[in-house]
Structure formats: C-alpha cells, structure tokens
C-alpha cells in the first residue's frame, strides 16, 4: 500500500507568486494514498530538504512527490535527499510546476493554480507504480586498445600508459610510425619528421605498460564500455621476434626484391624486410607473397606443378639466432579491454583516377608523398631529388593542388586541409635542395588557417621565389622530355602553359582502406567518405555514439600533425578518466523484458539503436529477447514497437504513462 507524501515548493514567489500553494495543498491532501501534503518556502534549501527527511521518517512514507522546479533542475538533489532516509531514491517523482506552470501562466493565478493541481495529480498517479530500482555496478577492464600506430595512436598510447594503465597497440603494418614516418620535414617549422617521431616510437616500443602488436589486425569486437572483448589476428611473420635481434643480416642478403610500398614504388625492398631503417619493432617479417622458399613450399604442396622455384632459405642459413620459423602461422588472439581508441589515420588519394593528368602513367608526375620520399635522406635516393624516369635533376617543378580534393566529379568534394601547406613546404625545400629549381604552384585558393601558416606561405613566395598560379590545370601531357601543364591564370584571365621537368600532385586525404569495416565492427558510425563520425562535432570530438569507443586523428577527417597529437591526447584523457573509476554505475531506468509475454518476434532487436537487445532460447525452446543492461540507454524505442507489450521501461512503464493520462480525467 503506497503511503505518499507530497511537498509543494513556493520557490520564494517564483511559484507561490502565481500558484495558490495553500489551495493546492488542500486539494492534494484529499487524494487517495496521499498521507501527507505540505508546502515549504525553498524545498531545495538545506532546511527544506531536512523537513522532507523528517516527514518521510515520521509518516514512514514509501513514495515521495515534490512539486517544484523542473526535474532537469533538482531531480538528482532530491533523489539524494530521499535516499538519505533509507528509502529507495527511485520512489520519487517531481511535478514541474515552475518552468511549465507558474512561470508561463503568471497572467492568470486561477488557471495556473488549477494546472498546478493537475500536474501534481499526474505525478501522484505515476509515483504509485514506482518500484525500488538499483543501479548495477560493472567492473572495468583497465586496459585500452589502440587501433593504429601512427602519430595519433602513439600519442594516445603513451598518454594512457603514463597515466598508469595497460595499453595494447595494434598496427597492421610491420612497424609503427604511420604516414608521419614517410615524411621528410614538417610544416611550418621544417623540423625533421623522423627526428621528432622516432623517439616517441622507441618510447612506445619500450614502455612497460604498452604491448605492441604489429603486423596484426582487429577482426571482431564485442561487449560494451568497460568490458570489450577483441579478436586480433596476428599475421604470420615467419620470424620469431623473441629470438630475433634485428641485426639485419637477413634483409641485407635476401635475393628476392620488390618495389617498396613504404617508398611508394620509388625504391626496392627485400622479401624479408623492415619497412624503414628506424622501424619499431626493429625486427623483420617475411613477405610470404614473394619469398622464394615459401613459393617452393607451395610448389611442393600443390603437387609440383610448373617450374621449380629455388629453395633459397638464405635468411635462415645466415640468421645468427635461428629466428626464422617457417612453420609460424597466423593466429587469432582474444584480449579484454575497457576502452577502444580508433586511430587508423589516412591514406593519400590515388591520382591514377585523374586520366587528364596522365592517369598515373607518367613516371615524372608524382604525388606529394612520393616527393617526401625523394627528399628524405633515408629515402630511396638518399635525399637526392631526381626524375624517376631518367634520374635527371629537375629544374622546373610544377605543383598541382586539390588533386582528389574539392572535386565532386572525383567523389572527393571536401578540402583536405594540409595540401596547401605541404605544397608550400615542398617548394621551399626544393629551393634548399637546389637553388636553381623554379617552382610553379597551381592552386584554387591558398588556405593557411593555422599558427604561422600564412607566414610560411609568404615565405614560399618571398624566399623560394615560387610563382603561384590561381587556376586548376586541365591537362598534363608529355612533350619530349618535358611535361606540359595546361592551366589558366585566373588573376590575369588568360590560359597558361608550363613546361616542367617534374610535376607534383598535391593528393588529398582519404580514410585508410578498411576504415568502414572497422567502424562496423565497433558499431561506430562513419560518413559517406568512410571518415569516422564524432558523437558531437564540437562538444564531443573524440567520443563516438558507442560508449567506450573513441576516435582520434585523421580517421575522423583531414588533420595535420599537431591536431592529430592533440586529439590523440584528448582521447587518452577520456580513456584515463574512464579508467579512474573502478566500476561503472549503470542507470537502472532501462528496458526489461517480460519473458512470459515475449513472442520472440525480435522487432526490438532490429529497432534498438544500441544493439542492446539480443535473444536467447528458453528451456521450452522459445525465442525471447534479452536486454543487455550495460548497453541499454533507456530510450524506449523497443516498447513502442513491441506488439505483445512484453518489454517495458523502468521508471516510464506503459502503465505509469497511461495512469498519468488517466489522472487528467479523474
């Protein structure tokens, strides 16, 4: 039997000035099950709360209605008040007679009073069916999974690890470092990329709290915030990294060569390789797609058809520690995590889609990233800038901006943000490489929104003598040894033609391949270009709609290095804050399934935005829906769609809402 106490607040004159509180109390007193109705000047004040406590105890109330300001204002406060008397805090209902009554009907006391009474009646009829609710506590696995070992992932990993939590970094390449490790210098400061990156890579590699899994990919993630379980595929390296010392004998002697992806086809690497000299870990993997001995083994396995490949095994013979393990296979590793940070970064747009620029067929039309490799001292040419076609030193270099950016026709309408600056950087650096080089930069707009960016751009003009030409070129064609670029100088309004030795296309950013699949694995949303979508573009930039899954860096959109580092740090802060608690309190105002009623149509499973409903088979072989309390956010979509009304929402049950409606005609 409900024993309800109703407390009507004056809120000074805010309510009492308009609503005849005494009259209200008189009427409410008479309602069934209301054992006490009283008023106080400021219910939320300490004395106000004290009087509620006393009243609850004196009249041993088991339901409380407080008619005051909006529940969005003080519900939490009053729950605490109620709880302090030992009564379950969820046996409270707030009647909003200030924001939604006194303040909006100040023009008519009578009407306002009448309305206040009805509002309270509704609350009373609802509170009757309130039940004691208990928030559940879930343990948190204080272990973070970082997907992607670029500068963003590295920053996030180090920050979380330094906060004292365990971190696992999963990188699909044989080494961490990402795009930044391919760069020669960085704008606008021109400091050497490797010099600032490699120390961080080493820190990560040696950090006691960080487990590094390179050459590995996340295949599956299930669970929820605090309790994720991830399946990680460790690809076969054919090299035992516990034994390997990274001495380098193997990759110096391996006879099988192939174009290096790291050098973007400008250099070669061997079948057993580390992608670049400062790789972390500094230990090789064997590229099974080209290794001669692996080819031999396959040949044997497939009944010795065709020509017999050589039984090379040179690496094995030369390895001083016997680290080569031919029988090493890929393995699926399952680990538990409390939070996930997606830092999968970007790749550059493939300019072969631009047939009008040669469709990738002209060796001397290269991408900006390729130029980075040519300029890099550790690059395929040892830092000598030469034409890929004939090794000549280019004297006239033309740059084309917005290749794969601001181009609807090519399906990339967005601005990639960094190209204007890295192109200015390239021009400045080329001049430093060879003072005789003349650079022309074709641009649509030069965008220099960033610290010291504008100054950097002007430096390209003033010091490097770059000629900026406003206009997107329409065609690049071969003319003898030269490349001709057809453009327009939009400022003078005439067509221009430039004969260059080397053309550099400032290719834009697009999400790394597979970003969309990963998003699906994590139940995070992604946009039409496969960039990750933040929970809120301004206020929740590193969160996603899925609790415990964070995003950082260029996988969210085009970003430069400082931004990536900042976002990596931000994500780390969020993860650390999460891990600073031992358990997660889950809101008990969530869906519950009445198993007896459920007919197993599973409409709710389909409709739930949070994948919080799954199903199981009962002993009597019936399909029934089951709510995962940690995933459910209590939106109530499922009940509205549930035909047999088997699922209901605690604190907002169908019956309660109907009772509220009813009360208006009692």
């Amino acid at each position: 039997m409900a024993r309800i106490g109703v407390f009507v607040c004056h809120c000074g004159t805010n309510i009492a000035g308009t609503v005849d509180v005494t009259k209200v109390v008189e009427v409410i007193k008479k309602l069934p099950m209301v054992v006490l109705a009283t008023d106080s000047k400021y219910t939320c004040s300490e004395p106000g709360q004290a009087s509620i406590r006393e009243a609850i105890i004196e009249n041993n109330l088991n339901r409380v209605v407080i008619a005051s300001c909006s529940p969005r204002m003080h519900e939490a406060t009053f729950r605490r008040t109620v709880a302090s008397t030992g009564l379950n805090p969820y046996l409270l209902e707030i009647a909003n007679i200030r924001e939604q009554c006194s303040w909006v009907h100040s023009d008519d006391k009578e009407v306002a009073t009448a309305k206040a009474i009805e509002i309270i009646k509704m609350a009373v009829s609802k509170v009757i069916r309130h039940e004691p609710l208990f928030p559940t506590q879930v343990e948190i696995t204080k272990r973070a999974l970082i997907i992607g070992g670029g500068i963003t992932g590295i920053q996030a990993a180090l920050d979380i690890a330094n906060a004292g939590y365990e971190v696992v970094v999963v990188e699909r390449e044989p080494s961490i470092g990402g795009r930044m490790s391919q760069l020669d210098k960085t704008f606008p400061t021109l400091d050497c990329s490797a010099c600032i990156l490699t120390p961080k890579m080493v820190d990560l590699g040696q950090h006691p709290k960080i487990k590094l899994m390179t050459y590995a990919e996340v295949k599956k993630v299930k669970g929820f915030v605090g309790n994720f379980e991830a399946e990680i595929l460790q690809k076969a390296r054919k090299v035992d990294h516990l034994k390997c010392t990274g001495c380098g004998t193997c990759w110096q002697k391996c006879p099988q060569k192939i174009l290096s992806q790291f050098d973007l086809g400008l250099g070669k690497r061997t079948a057993i390789y580390i992608p670049f000299a400062q790789a972390v870990p500094p230990k090789p993997v064997i590229d099974v797609s080209i290794c001669r001995y692996i080819k031999y083994l396959n040949w044997v396995a497939t009944g010795q058809e065709g020509k017999k490949p050589p039984e090379c095994r040179i690496c094995e013979k030369l390895c001083p520690t016997g680290a080569i393990t031919w029988d090493q296979e890929e393995e699926l590793i399952t680990e538990k995590f409390g939070a996930v940070v997606v830092a999968t970064g970007y790749q550059t747009y493939d300019h072969s889609h631009y047939q009008e620029y040669g469709g990738g067929a002209y060796p001397d039309v290269i991408s900006g990233l390729q130029l980075e490799r040519l300029m890099s001292a550790s690059g395929p040419t040892g830092g000598e800038v030469i034409r890929p076609s004939d090794g000549a030193h280019p004297k006239t270099v033309a740059f084309v901006c917005c290749v794969g950016s601001r181009d609807q026709q090519k399906g990339r309408p967005y601005c990639s943000k960094v190209c204007c600056m890295y192109t200015a950087k390239h021009a400045i650096m080329l001049r430093e490489h060879d003072p005789e080089i003349q650079c022309y930069i074709f641009y649509i707009d030069v965008r220099t929104g960033g610290k010291d960016f504008e100054e950097f751009y002007l430096r390209a003009i003033d010091e490097a003598g770059v000629i900026y030409i406003k206009g997107r070129p329409s065609k690049i064609y071969r003319d003898g040894k030269k490349l001709k670029i057809l453009g327009e100088d939009a400022l003078i309004g005439r067509p221009v033609e430039i004969a260059a030795d080397l053309v550099v296309l400032a290719t834009g950013m697009e999400p790394s391949i597979g970003a969309d699949e990963l998003a699906r694995i994590l139940n995070a949303s992604y946009d039409t270009y496969n960039f990750m979508v933040e929970a809120h573009p301004k206020l929740r930039p590193v969160e996603t709609q899925t609790d415990g899954v964070f995003v950082a860096g260029a996988c969210v959109g085009p970003r430069d290095i400082p931004e990536c580092v900042a976002h990596g740090g931000a994500a780390a802060a969020k993860v650390s804050a999460l891990f600073s608690q031992d358990t997660l309190t889950t809101d008990p105002l969530i869906a519950v399934v009445n198993q007896a009623r459920c007919i197993g149509c599973l409409l709710c499973v389909a409709i739930c935005p949070f994948k919080a409903i799954s199903y199981e088979v009962t002993r009597d072989k019936r399909l029934i829906a089951v709510v995962n309390e940690s995933l459910c956010k209590g939106c109530g979509l499922c009940m509205a769609s549930c035909r047999p009304k088997a699922v209901d929402l605690r604190g907002f049950t169908n019956q309660q809402i109907l009772d509220e409606v009813n009360s208006l005609w009692l």
Partner: protein, 289 residues
Amino acid sequence: MKKSRYAYYPGCTLKTSAKEYDISARLVCKALGIELEELKDWTCCGAASAHSIDQLLGIALPALELQAAAKLELPLVAACALCFSRLKFAAHELKEEKVRNLIGEVMGKEISQDHHYEVVHLLQLLDENTDKMKIEKPLHGLKVACYYGCLLVRPKEVTNFDDVENPQTMDRIIQVLGAENVGWDFKTECCGGSHMLVRPDIVVKLSHRLLAQAQQAGADCLAVACPVCHSNLDSMQKTIAAKYKDNIHLPVFYFTQLAGLALGLPPKQLLLDKHFIDPLPLLMNKGLM
C-alpha cells in the same frame, strides 16, 4: 547482343568530301557480313550549325532520322562523329516528355515514347565484330596514332562511348589489324572541328598540335573516325606544315580504310588516292602494298 543488320546514316560529307570513308565502311561491313541499310532519302542532321543557333532545329533534324530508323526497327549506325553526336543528343533529349511534345509539334507528328532509339558508331560496330575479321594482310610495322576527337566520347552521359580521356575502342581494332597503336596524350583533344571555314587560323593551330604530338609519339600515320577531323588533319596538313615550318608528314586514314587493307581488300577500292597526304609511299616501304 550482336546484330548483323543496321540502318546506316552516312551524313552529308560522306557523299562528297569523305567519299572514301563511306565506300571503305560499306566494303568492310560487307566483308564482315554486316548488312548496312542506308536510310532512304536521309537528310542533314544539322551539325554543327543547327544546335548552335536553333535548339528545336538541333533536335528535330536528327529526330527525323531516328524515326526513320525506328520505322525499320533497326539500330542506327552513324559514320560521322558529328552526326553520331547529334543523333545521340536527340535520342537523349527525346527521353523527356516535354521535349517529345515540342518536337512532335515541330515535325507535325506524334513522337511515341516507347521507342528507345539505339544509335551506335561504326567504331563500336567493328569493335564488336573483330572476331569475324579474317586478317589477310596484317598491318605489321605500321605505327598508328588513333585519334577519336571530341564528339565520340563527350559528353559521356550522352554518347556513353568509352573512357573520355583515354578511349581504347579504335586502339583495340588497330591491334587486331596487326598494326601498332602508339600511346599518345591527344586522343580526345579537339582538331578545330567545324571552324574550318570561319576560323581556319584556329583549325591550323589545333590540328598542328595534334599532328606534332602524334609524330612525337612515334606514329607514322593517324587513324580517324570523323570526316571533319580528317579534312582538318589531312587537307590542311600542307598549310600547317608550311605555317609552322616543321616537316610534319603524316598520312591520315579512316580506320575503315586500314581495316579494308588488313582484310585484303584492293587498295584502289578503298580510295586511298583521295587523300591530300598520299599514304601509298608509307604503305609501300612498310611492305604493306
């Protein structure tokens, strides 16, 4: 769906300045067992003037021929790239009811919407039938720059012909003929088109760019699929060479003439003698004649 019978629209120039194109096309198709039924008393498609100064006329004129072909219930094949373009545009426009009504009024007869007008170009026709080609005299050693021009490939959504920047249809045919198709970057750049009369200076400038590029790419001749391109590149070539003082000398073939040669048709019949730049010496020293 390969067909062996087509309605054929030669277009005005193929009866005069581009005779050899018309003749060689017919001979080659015959050799491949493709029947061309020339539209009876066909009239001009209006290119390139009609659509430039009178939108309705620009659609009505080709629409006449589309209907004639539809009456024969045959797909329509065009030889001239300009005609092809105009026919394609008309077919494209007539998909819209508003247009059908207007043009219907202009032509004084209902235009039913259930015709979908199928228009193809000779190149596509041959490309589809390369398997039927019995190569008697493979054109070994002949380096051909395939020139497509503008209107076959553009606009893609209308002509739906091939890649806009780097088409391959003609190159495939040329390879089947045993010749070498040189890679070059001006396959679809303009030759000056119909400005021959009004702005010869433009034609000279643009055609020169093409010829120079083809020569640089190592071609010893060009293959074209359009009478306008041909007359710009062939009949103007001497003027061009003179103006730019370079020794450009590139015979310009219709791709059908090269096909004819490879199929072993007598050169005389292919009217190779109609060209301003005499191709015979080239063919001789390549041992193809």
